[in-house]
């Protein structure tokens, strides 16, 4: 664990002291090495145990895929930001890379935490660099409102979590995950315990986001710069899922009744946000709403609490992280050329940028969960476990799958096919950097077809 964390910490002085000409290549190479080294965690995939290396940090089958994903994403973020940061003064570029790195450090410590309190502190700590990214480097005046929504939705949800964790500590004497998983189930019966359940879950539901409390997500994703959108979509949403999976082991037997409304809300959200996607005119907004839609399924899978549900949720989280991040990168390549996120003004791009159209095609297919990609595996496992619980869910999840296919294809057809507008033929050709970026997103996704056991979590 430390062999990943300490190099990431050292990336901070690297960002400040590298010569200006070598700033971006150096940080890129450094973070790529860290990402490659993080793949070594995947080796120790004993089914249930922790591969502890520390008294504070450890990894297990649930956190390893998420840790690898977040380590993998840092070089991709640096690669994506290179173009639009090139015009900024040198110190701001260094500050930007430091923000991304500090976000990475917090994420590694969050996913690797053994004490739930440390997870909570890191969960909150990730808010700060993200907020700075959105409000300082976002493109429009709406970014201030986006930052406010993002900050206060998450804070309002997580303050009850702090109280709930303190209560848990007082009643059980420990907050270490290693011990809590073996503790006696708590006697949870009264109304106060139901509020405690809600306090534990609310922060993560807001973060996921659950459909009713999802308003911060379209704003934050759209207004953030590309690196902000990538990390938000790929990893920060999964912090919520991960937290829920950890906490649920202690929250029986209340979950059987209390999760009911949230599962329904999540599934309803899949359809509603999917339908909103069909009416979107802003490309980034479409991808943001599609994230809400996919995460709704993940919430359903987690709250169902079956092994298949958990596995499906984890697979979908990883696959969606890579896909959504790839889509945001593609949208950003569009934006850097045409300076508009409106879909109707940037159409028919297959004519000018055919290879980029290939990446659009693969990413859109991944988004609509085409077999044999892991997206489908995750969705199918969740849908099956939900069906096992109640037959009625198939109506919602089936309709949701249909609508997802609808808007993913709509997004692809509008941006790539059709007549090229007259003001677009002389567009800048694609840089190799952009091709590399998308390839690094899609390659892990395609490789995971061959060995999905890596991201199955405990069900391996």
């Amino acid at each position: 664990m430390l062999k990943i964390l300490v190099p990431t910490l050292m990336l901070l002085p690297t960002a400040w002291m590298a010569p200006k000409k070598w700033l971006w290549p150096t940080t890129l190479l450094h973070s790529l090495l860290i990402a490659t080294a993080s793949l070594s965690w995947l080796k120790n995939m004993s089914e249930t145990g922790w591969t502890t290396t520390n008294s504070y940090l450890a990894t297990d089958a649930l956190s390893t895929p998420l840790l690898v994903l977040s380590c993998w994403l840092l070089p991709l973020m640096i690669l994506a930001s290179q173009n639009h940061m090139a015009l900024e003064p040198e110190n701001r570029q260094r500050l930007y890379i430091c923000l991304l790195t500090s976000l990475q450090i917090f994420l590694i410590m969050a996913f690797g935490a053994t004490e739930v309190m440390m997870f909570y502190v890191m969960f909150e700590a990730t808010l700060i660099p993200t907020l700075i990214l959105i409000t300082r480097w976002g493109n429009q005046t709406e970014r201030l409102r986006a930052g406010v929504y993002f900050l206060f939705y998450t804070l309002a949800g997580s303050l009850p979590l702090l109280v709930a964790l303190s209560l848990l500590y007082v009643s059980t004497g420990t907050l270490s995950l290693l011990i809590l998983q073996y503790s006696e189930p708590l006697q949870l019966s009264g109304l106060a315990d139901e509020f405690w359940w809600l306090g534990c879950m609310l922060a993560f539901l807001v973060k996921m986001p659950l459909y009713g409390v999802h308003l911060w997500l379209p704003k934050a994703h759209v207004e953030a710069p590309i690196a902000g959108s990538m990390i938000l979509a790929a990893v920060l949403l999964k912090l919520g899922g991960y937290g829920m999976m950890r906490m649920l082991t202690m929250l029986d037997p209340l979950t059987k009744e209390m999760s009911y409304p949230f599962i329904v809300l999540a599934l309803w959200g899949v359809i509603m946000t999917g339908s909103i996607c069909l009416r979107q005119t802003d490309l980034k907004s479409l991808i943001a709403y599609s994230s809400v839609s996919h995460m709704g399924l993940v919430v359903g899978g987690i709250l169902i609490q079956t092994p298949w549900g958990f596995t499906g949720a984890l697979i979908l989280m990883i696959a969606h992280g890579l896909t959504s991040s790839a889509l945001f990168c593609l949208a950003n390549t569009n934006y850097e050329r045409t300076h508009t996120r409106t879909m109707v003004l940037a159409r028919g791009l297959q004519t000018v940028l055919p290879l980029m159209a290939t990446w659009w095609f693969i990413s859109s297919l991944a988004n609509l969960a085409l077999p044999p990609l892991p997206n489908l595996m995750g969705e199918l496992m969740i849908i099956t476990s939900l069906l096992n619980w109640s037959w009625w869910t198939i109506a919602l999840t089936g309709a949701g799958t249909l609508i997802t296919a609808g808007y993913s294809l709509y997004m692809f057809l509008v941006t790539q096919r059709g007549k090229l507008p007259a003001h677009l033929p002389a567009i800048e050709p694609t840089h190799s950097r952009e091709h590399l970026l998308i390839t690094l997103h899609l390659l892990p996704l395609l490789l995971l077809i061959l060995k999905p056991e890596l991201i199955w979590g405990w069900a391996a």
């Binding site: 300076h339 409106t342 003004l345």
Partner: protein, 505 residues
């Protein structure tokens, strides 16, 4: 108890006084401007209510202590930091394009459109200083079709530009027709044009001098070989009403208006070589710098597309991007051939003048006049020769021009006009296309994302609805759909092949 009664009585009296006083609060916004000449047919309860609420808030804020200072002092006139389409020029062409873009977008609020206009009082704007005529008597088929489509638009204007809960649009379209008079030299041209016009659906008729005298007895037919009279869809209307109708409808659909001057563009450049081996720099506009009026403040508006509808000053706007600044025999050296030309309009009063069915008469000498209102007033003017073009530095009127150039021909053609009095006059700019006096619509070969809709040389107002639709189709559909205006593109200017009209006023 009695104090409470006295207070409520005072409040009741104040309410009555607010609702009674129809002078209205001083801060009325343009959207409340009445567009018809008569009063509204019925009182709108909700509009009156809103006025009362505004008045009460004003009263309350004046009465209560405290200042209007806010920590975030933002100029409300500033354009947004980024927009999808920036339309430079808030005349009738610019607002028509804005309206049609919003009309054609598939989903609500798909695009953010900003219209930037330099002159907030519209005192020097060519649209409102125009004589307001519309005719289909052109020689180019495209011009005929444009005017015909625009006339149809204006006849059904409330279907297009009507806004809920607001007064209907009343353009005061006088369908009196145009009357062109030709001498022997150009009579054959008039006949050919007549055939073209009829084939494209314009309702025009040719009159011999005898028929002319029969129809309009006040005309002196000396020297007239042939006359061409428009029977339908021709006449004049109020340009200010049309501009405001477009503006009101476009703003109700979400177009943002900004009063400011475009001073600069930020662009990226790409070098490429043409087939002839010439090196050209292709520019792509990234942002438009809009300067606030009477202030040092400016806002760069990041945008995807810029539409140049700046009318008489489009040449200056194009020059900011280097169009025309380049070696003489290169593409970059060809400037946008649009420059302002001053034209005078004189309002004359003649009590014994022609009657109510007077058409817009244009003599073969270039002098024109039309009826204005019902009180015996007429509007007259003439196009000066190339050599005697007035100075375009200001909008001062030269009354000597009327004496020397307009009145003699006018009195010759209409004897009643020998006794007239010039009551007022004004001057306005034509966005004169020095190349061939026809509009320029389309993309410039050197600037990737600037659409031009300018250079109409006096016909911009009458063609504005159809031109707006054409530009919107070009932007959103990639090609012209209803009317093919490909001939109005930049190709003719680059290849120096003028597309001249054969009767120009």
């Amino acid at each position: 108890m009695s104090a409470w009664r006295r207070a409520t009585a005072r409040m009741a009296r104040e309410l009555v006084s607010i609702s009674g006083g129809h002078a209205g609060p001083s801060r009325r916004r343009a959207s409340f401007q009445r567009l018809s000449t008569s009063a509204a047919l019925h009182k709108d309860f909700f509009r009156d209510l809103e006025e009362q609420v505004v008045a009460m808030r004003q009263k309350a804020s004046d009465a209560l202590p405290g200042s209007k200072w806010t920590p975030l002092e933002i100029n409300p006139n500033l354009p947004p930091e980024r927009a999808d389409i920036v339309i430079v020029g808030g005349g009738v062409v610019g607002w028509s394009i804005a309206y049609w873009l919003k009309q054609k977008e598939m989903m609500r609020e798909a695009m953010k459109i900003v219209v930037v206009e330099r002159d907030s009082t519209y005192s020097r704007n060519s649209t409102v200083l125009s004589a307001g005529g519309i005719r289909q008597q052109f020689s180019l088929p495209e011009n005929i079709c444009l005017s015909l489509a625009s006339a149809n638009f204006m006849r059904n204007i409330n279907d297009h530009l009507g806004v809920e809960n607001e007064d209907p649009v009343d353009l005061q379209f006088n369908h009196s027709g145009y009357l062109f008079l030709a001498n022997e030299n150009v009579a054959h041209l008039m006949e050919e044009n007549y055939r073209t016009q009829r084939s494209y659906g314009a309702n025009v008729s040719l009159l011999s001098p005898a028929q002319l005298k029969d129809k309009f007895p006040w005309v002196n037919t000396e020297g007239v070989a042939l006359a061409s009279y428009g029977l339908e869809n021709e006449g004049w209307f109020d340009p200010w009403t049309l501009l405001n109708a477009f503006k009101r409808k476009a703003m109700s659909m979400g177009v943002i208006q900004c009063y400011g001057e475009v001073t600069d563009f930020k662009h990226t450049m790409n070098v490429t070589t043409t087939v002839d081996g010439e090196q050209v720099y292709l520019k792509r506009i990234k942002s438009v710098k809009v300067h606030m009026p009477n202030s040092l403040e400016y806002q760069p508006v990041e945008c995807a597309i810029v539409v140049n509808a700046a009318g008489a000053f489009s040449g200056k706007v194009a020059q900011m991007l280097g169009v025309g600044i380049g070696p003489k025999d290169t593409i970059a050296g060809i400037p946008l051939p649009v420059e302002p030309r001053k034209r005078y309009v004189y309002v004359v009063h003649c009590p014994d003048g022609p009657g109510l069915d007077t058409p817009f008469l244009i003599d073969h000498s270039g002098v024109y006049f039309r009826r204005e209102g019902l009180g015996g007033n007429y509007i007259a003017g003439a196009s000066p020769e190339e050599a005697e073009e007035p100075d375009t530095g200001n909008l001062e009127v030269d009354h000597q021009f009327f004496e020397d150039r307009v009145w003699p021909h006018l009195a010759n053609r209409v004897p009643a006009f020998e006794k007239l009095k010039v009551t007022s006059a004004w001057a306005g700019f034509y966005d004169y296309n020095t190349f061939d006096q026809n509009g320029i619509i389309g993309l410039h070969p050197l600037i990737n994302n600037m659409y031009f809709a300018t250079g109409f040389s006096g016909h911009g107002l009458q063609q504005s609805p159809a031109v707006g639709r054409a530009v919107a189709e070009l932007i959103l559909d990639g090609n012209f759909k209803t009317l093919d205006l490909g001939n109005f593109g930049f190709r003719r200017i680059m290849e120096q092949e003028p597309m001249l009209e054969r009767n120009i006023v």
